[in-house]
Structures are given as structure tokens and as C-alpha cells.
Symmetry: C2
């Protein structure tokens, strides 16, 4: 039990992250040691999954591995049942929910047009206050979004696989009711994870069901939207516009038609940036270190069989 405070934080290839996570371990009563002595490993470079096997091989006493991702990302092949695995599940939801508010307000309030003006522009814009919003997906991002949007008096429909109620949503419907759920929306927000069931969920048919004044906001994955169908809808103005934090292909290549549509705002996958995420994952590492040392249940445990 005594060795549980000995935690490795590796690799050190991303200095700012390494420093922040070491600090988090120490703040929770841990001691940062080399893998050879460690009972736990905090993996400290999201881009260096390849370095993992060598680190683990050097740490025969490591029982617990904390990953820096929201999911398992590049670790699928490394997962085993001999270690206890945790990740940053849920910690990155808040900045992504903040992005949704940013996207909605920028779109409704006409910010992209104002940002390009070099003389006093025509007044425009409408309110998000009291708007009708349809959110696809009922995970952590939607949960955080509903918390942030609560004071705005919006009418929110959540579309999810099972029709369990969700605090903060005015109603929850199942995916087979998607077309009805977007029919009178002021904005449709995609906050799904990408699966075979959700790929291409925003397509010609979904877009055609949306009213002409509705905006699309995609903070899921590029593959949720059939890009050619979206270009078509935006070109013909069958919807008001789109704000995309993810695209297909991504990054969107130079010369792509979406770059030149007035009613399309593209942000470069910044729902959660490394800078925003670092204090959040550090807090999770601090929390789990404290729990590990105390022998308590860890947060964000990975279900090896389910792979998330």
C-alpha cells in the first residue's frame, strides 16, 4: 500500500504538460518517480502513444495507467486487463460546450460579416434568447451545454438513441424522430461521437427538413456531415448557415467551396485546444492520484471490452 504514492509521469516530450501533470501528482501527495519504481503511470504526451510500450516495459510494478485523452484514442492496441486504465473522460466537455455557445452567438449575431467590414455595416442579428435548439447526442458535451444555456430560456430538444429524459432539455426524442426534431429548429447542433450509426447523419434529407432560417453547428466529427450535401444546401440557401469545428476532409483543403461561402464559418477543431485542456486534465490527474493513494475508486475508468 505504501508504494502507491510513487507515480511516474512519462514521457517528458511535451514539457508544459509534463510539468503541469507532475505538479498535479505532487499536489495530491504523490511522488514523481521513474517507471521502474512506480505503482501508477500518468501518460503525459497525447501524441506519443508509440512511446508507451517501452515505458510500461520499464515499470513492472505499474498497476494503474492514466491516459490524457477524453477516450482511448491511439491506445486501443495497448489496452490490457492486467492494468487498471483511466482516461480524461468528461473533463474536456466544458470548453467544447463553450464552443457551441460561441458558434450559436456568432451565427445569430452576424459576427463573421462584422469581422470583415471596413465601413459601418448594415445592422442585423437575432437573439439566441428563447431560441429553439435541437441537439444531436446526449453525452458529456450536451450535458455541459445544457448547463451553460440554462439561463437563456431556450426550447431544447435532445435527440438520442434511448429516450431517457435529460436535465435541462425540454424534451428528449429518439433518433428515428430526427427529421421531426429539426423541422422547426433555429439551430441544429451535432455533438455525437462518430459511429456507423451516426456517420453522415446530416445529409441531403436532414438538411432539407431544416427550416431556411436554421443554422447547423457541428462539434462532433467531420464525418457526421455529408460535406457535398452541406455545400449544396449553403449554396442554395435552403438553411441559414453552418458553423463547423470539424470537417470532412479535415483539415479542409485550400480552395474547398466551404472556404468561400459567406454563410459558413469554420473553426480549426478548437472545441478544446491543448491549452484549454491542460488545466482540466491536470485537475483529473490530481483527483485520481489522491484517490489512488487512498485506495478509492478512480474516475474515468476505461471499459476494456467496450473500448471507451
Amino acid at each position: 500500500m505504501n508504494a502507491r504514492h510513487l507515480i511516474a509521469v512519462e514521457p517528458a516530450t511535451r514539457p508544459a504538460m509534463h510539468a503541469a501533470l507532475c505538479e498535479a501528482v505532487v499536489a495530491s501527495g504523490g511522488t514523481v518517480v521513474a517507471p521502474a519504481e512506480a505503482s501508477g503511470l500518468v501518460f503525459a504526451d497525447p501524441a506519443a502513444a508509440d512511446a508507451f510500450p517501452a515505458i510500461l516495459a520499464a515499470g513492472p510494478a505499474i498497476e494503474w495507467v492514466q491516459l490524457p485523452y477524453a477516450g482511448i484514442d491511439g491506445f486501443g492496441e495497448h489496452l490490457d486487463t492486467t492494468h487498471q486504465w483511466t482516461c480524461g473522460k468528461g473533463v474536456y466537455a466544458e470548453p467544447v460546450a463553450e464552443w457551441i455557445l460561441t458558434a450559436l452567438l456568432s451565427a445569430f449575431r452576424d459576427i463573421p460579416r462584422y469581422a470583415q467590414a471596413t465601413s459601418w455595416p448594415r445592422q442585423a442579428g437575432r437573439n439566441l434568447l428563447g431560441a429553439r435548439l435541437t441537439v444531436l447526442g446526449a453525452g458529456g458535451i450536451t450535458e455541459s451545454f445544457l448547463r451553460l444555456i440554462a439561463p437563456w430560456g431556450c426550447d431544447v430538444t435532445v435527440v438520442r438513441r434511448q429516450s431517457e429524459p435529460m436535465p435541462g432539455a425540454n424534451r428528449v426524442v429518439t433518433t428515428d424522430q430526427l427529421l421531426d426534431a429539426v423541422r422547426d429548429a433555429d439551430a441544429v447542433i451535432v455533438a455525437l461521437s462518430l459511429t456507423d450509426q451516426t456517420r453522415g447523419i446530416i445529409n441531403r434529407t436532414t438538411l432539407a427538413a431544416m427550416p431556411a432560417h436554421a443554422w447547423l453547428c457541428n462539434v462532433g466529427r467531420g464525418g457526421h456531415v455529408v460535406t457535398d450535401d452541406l455545400v449544396d444546401a449553403l449554396t442554395k440557401n435552403t438553411i441559414a448557415g453552418a458553423v463547423l469545428d470539424v470537417t470532412d476532409p479535415e483539415p479542409l483543403p485550400d480552395g474547398h467551396p466551404l472556404w468561400h461561402l459567406d454563410n459558413c464559418l469554420i473553426t480549426p477543431h478548437v472545441g478544446n485546444t491543448p491549452e484549454m485542456g491542460l488545466p482540466l486534465i491536470a485537475r483529473r490527474v490530481a483527483d485520481n492520484t489522491r484517490r489512488w493513494i487512498a485506495g478509492e475508486e478512480l474516475i474515468g475508468t476505461i471499459n476494456i471490452e467496450a473500448g471507451y
Copy 2:
């Protein structure tokens, strides 16, 4: 008492507003009549204050006048103590508070740069979640803003004349502590009314006290900011940037240096547009019509001596 349901809605020079306000009167049990028969007058064109004396002269039985403004605007010379006066005090605060959130999120999340990109832009942005905000002014706009920002976990300092506490603010300080209050702010928000005391409150000294990463958001009046001092601060990057819904001069003339600064976003006085405001003032008219007919106290009464 019986004649109190007879309300004039004049002039009819702005058809959409006239229709909406007539509808509001009728919905509350009123009957829309000519001024000659009316006990109350709902003034229905914000730009037509000049038409007021003739309307009032035609309505000898008019006891109550409802103005369509947040204040008294062009009616200063018309106010008298023989009528009861009400205005739209407070009703326009919510869209303006929504503008503040739009400005902060656009600024923090780098939306103006993304809006101008024609190839995949560099990732940037920081969170409004948990930010330190300093708000100048403690009126209806600040009240609404504090309500909207509540879930974001921000640290909010309100600067006002008297140091009365304000629900939702972490602290309230008086104007003499302004420089201290902006010194560690991530954003400084001006939501004041323009008086001799507040004119030019954002000047060389205030700007110099703000940290280099701080944004300025002005939703008060252009005269609150000394424009040349702001241009200087933005050019030298002594602050991060500014989002201005009001300017001095306004409209900002073509060729003005503010149009060409990357770190300045200008919106054309759209905190509350006529389209956003119409349903809000209509609700106030409906409310006051019901109260007038029932002989209850009206909302948004104008203090003739104070002039607001």
C-alpha cells in the same frame, strides 16, 4: 373607470411596430381607438418624437403615455407632470447582455480571425469559463449579464457609484477603485449610461492599467472610450483587443484606423436591434395595458424630475 380600456397607438408610421403594439393592447383587453377617445397613448414610432405634440393635442382625455424607449430619449422637452409617463425601462437589457456574451466569446475564441480565413487557420483561443471579468455599471444590462454568465464560473467584479452588493457579482467596488479593478481582468466591460462622470472613463490611464491579455468590450456609449487612446493601446498591443458596439464618432467613418486593426471588432450598435426589441416592448405594452385597465401600478414609470 370604464374608458380606461380605450387606448390610442400612434403614430402608425412604422407599420410592423404599430401592428405589434396594437396586438399587445388588444391581447390585454384594450380597444385601440383614435387619440380623441383615448385614456392612454402608446407611442409607436421611436423616430417620430416630433409627431408627439399633435397627437397629444388631439387627445384631451389621455392620462397615461407609454414610450417605446429604454429611457426618455427625444421626449425630454415633452415630459410634463399632468400625464403619467412610462417607458421600456429594463426591457431591452437582455439582448444587450446577450451581445456582451457574444463579444466575449468571439474575442476569447478568436472568431474574427477564423471568419476571414480561406485556408485551415492556426489553432488558438482561450476559455471564458472561469475568466476574471470587470463590469463598469450596475444597471439592468449588468443585471441581465450576471444572470446569463452565472453558469460560467467567472470571477466578476462590478464597478459602480455606490458599493451596494449585486447578486451574481463576486465583489462590488466603487468608481474610485476602477484602476485596481481592471488590473487583473481578462476582460473589462463597459455597460454604463453616459454622464459627465462616465464620459471618457476608458482613457490612456485606464487602458494602461489593464493587463496585456485583457479585452475591452463597450456596449455603453461611444463617448465612454477616448477613441485615440484606444487606437494607441490597440496599435501597441498594450491590451489584447476591443469589441465595440458603440463608437465615437458613430457611425465610425470610412478609413478610421479602428477598421484596420486586427484586434478590434466593431458591431454596428446592435446590442438591441429594432427586430430584437419589438417583441420585448410589445410584452411591456401588454403588461402595462392590463395594469392600466385594472387600475394597478404601471411598470417602468419615468421620474420626471430625474429625467429617467
